[in-house]
Amino acid sequence: MEHTASALPQPATSYTRVRGDGSAYLVGSRCTQCGAKFLGERGNCGHCGARDALESYELASRGRLYNYTIVNRSYPGITVPFVSAVVDLEDGTSIKGNLIGVEPVAEAIPFGMPVRVVFRPAETANAEARGFVAHFFEPA
């Protein structure tokens, strides 16, 4: 079934892409000179300074938890607690997002745990983000 353009969710970040069927993915860019990887698309390499030498790619959907913190106090209107996580994807890109599907206590969240990237309505995390789709991490 085709989504009409107006019914498609809006991407929550500049590096989120929404397909015509409503599914989503993330894009990164890789420097063809030095191999450095970045979230989203960019013109020049922040590592080696190469100009117009970046190619974009679709980010991997699996990775491992590198680091996290459990956020108990946030800005007004944000649902707490939540787990803010940094994940090293299988393709070598690092991304940040909320880790869901775990108890928000340190004992339940081992470093290095395998995770997968999933997409959910952003309003599950911030009620004001209705109509946006965001990436989250789940234990794999």
Binding site: A12, L39, T69, I70, N72, S74, F82, S84, A122, N126
Partner: protein
């Protein structure tokens, strides 16, 4: 190039001043620094003003002190703002442009959490949806990475708060003079794991100012006796590192600035008598022991356990109380750190004096990131 001396320096007591303006606080600190070396505003050849919250703060400060028409540079560099203003003054004297300059850092803060301004072209505010960008969360992750690498514990991070709160009981210019036992730190409200409320720096109002001089002028005016020589002034921006764009890396930028500073000064970490480093959160202090070379990588936890960084220890750190307890008025912090070091080099630090202090180091990090390291020596 000529040596640069700090000849006059002062800070106001950090606290809350709801009835006073930013520039009134700046002017009070500036007059304190001028009085400290017996000069007046007409002696000053240029002003470097550090402040984040307002604009043209330097010029408006001069409106309260004397509008002499001198060059004024307004600096902003996040939490490295004050140190950057100080360094701009140092640079100008090094270049031979002036013999006497004034550097001021000042800030008025709102109590509670700093809310980051939205930047760039992101469609949504990221907070709470794409993880967290609050300062406690950013520095919570800094501590968690250290735990991952070296097994550093919540208790070790909490001991940093116990130590710095204890130090500030000896500092009449600190926001707080209150002991916080380990249990109290651990049982305080959890803000972003592992940082509890008592492991977060205090947002306060404050101002600090320094008069910098060429060595020649300081000697000519007979001000060398209480002066401190600036052995090194180093500033670094964050280099590209693997995860820097999703997890702020304040370690590498600190290592860069520290290396530059030690090379410039011709001294090493073992030559230092005391350090004022950027303990914006308790989790930051232990990694910075290592970044500044006070101990090898991975031994920061041991350092706090052994009391080596407490007053009376091998290398006292943040004897002022640090940002955790003296308070952290962003733009003022860099110069307030230098005030603390100079006060010890002069032997005027009272109950918290580090005995026979001859060389001290200051360190600040502005997230995003800027790191400034200064090394000062008793003349």
């Amino acid at each position: 190039m000529a040596d640069v001396y700090v000849t006059g320096i002062d800070m106001i007591r950090f606290g809350r001043y709801p009835d006073r303006t930013v520039v009134q606080l700046a002017a009070e600190a500036a007059l304190g620094a001028l009085d400290d070396c017996g000069l007046g505003i007409r002696d000053i050849e240029a002003l470097y003003s550090g402040n984040i919250g307002e604009t043209m703060t330097g010029q408006r400060t001069l409106q309260l002190l004397g509008q002499t028409g001198i060059p004024v540079v307004n600096c902003t560099n996040a939490c490295a703002t004050g140190a950057t203003a100080f360094r701009e003054g140092w640079t100008a004297i090094k270049a031979g442009l002036y013999d006497i300059v004034l550097c001021i850092g000042v800030e008025k803060m709102q109590p509670g959490m700093i809310v980051k301004k939205k930047v760039g072209n992101e469609p949504l505010p990221a907070e709470g949806v794409i993880g967290s960008e609050t300062m406690p969360a950013v520095f919570g992750m800094m501590g968690m990475e250290h735990s991952r690498l070296y097994g550093t514990t919540l208790e070790q991070f909490a001991k940093v708060s116990v130590k710095n709160h204890h130090h500030s009981t000896l500092n009449p210019k600190a926001m707080y003079q209150k002991e916080t036992p380990l249990e109290e730190v651990l049982n305080a409200e959890m803000i972003a794991y592992p940082n509890t409320k008592l492991m977060c720096s205090v947002n306060v109002d404050g101002a600090a100012a320094a008069v910098l001089m060429s060595e020649k002028k300081a000697r000519e005016l007979g001000l060398a006796r209480r002066a401190a020589r600036v052995l090194a002034s180093a500033l670094a921006s964050d280099p590209w590192t693997e995860r820097n764009l999703v997890m702020q890396d304040v370690n590498t930028v600190t290592q860069y600035a520290a290396r530059t500073a030690y090379e410039m000064a011709g001294v090493g970490p073992g030559d230092l008598d005391l350090v004022e480093l950027h303990d914006c959160f308790a989790t930051a202090e232990i990694p910075h022991y290592e970044n500044l070379g006070l101990c090898p990588a991975g031994e920061g936890g041991r350092l706090i356990d052994a009391g080596e960084t407490a007053l009376g220890g091998r290398i006292p750190v943040n004897v002022s109380g640090g940002l955790l307890s003296k308070g952290h008025p962003l733009g003022a912090t860099g110069i307030a750190n230098i005030y603390e070091i100079v006060t010890h080099l002069r032997g005027e630090a009272g109950a918290r004096q580090v005995p026979n202090a001859r060389i001290g180091l200051t360190h600040v990090v502005g997230l995003g990131s800027a790191c400034a390291v200064h090394i000062l020596e008793k003349v």
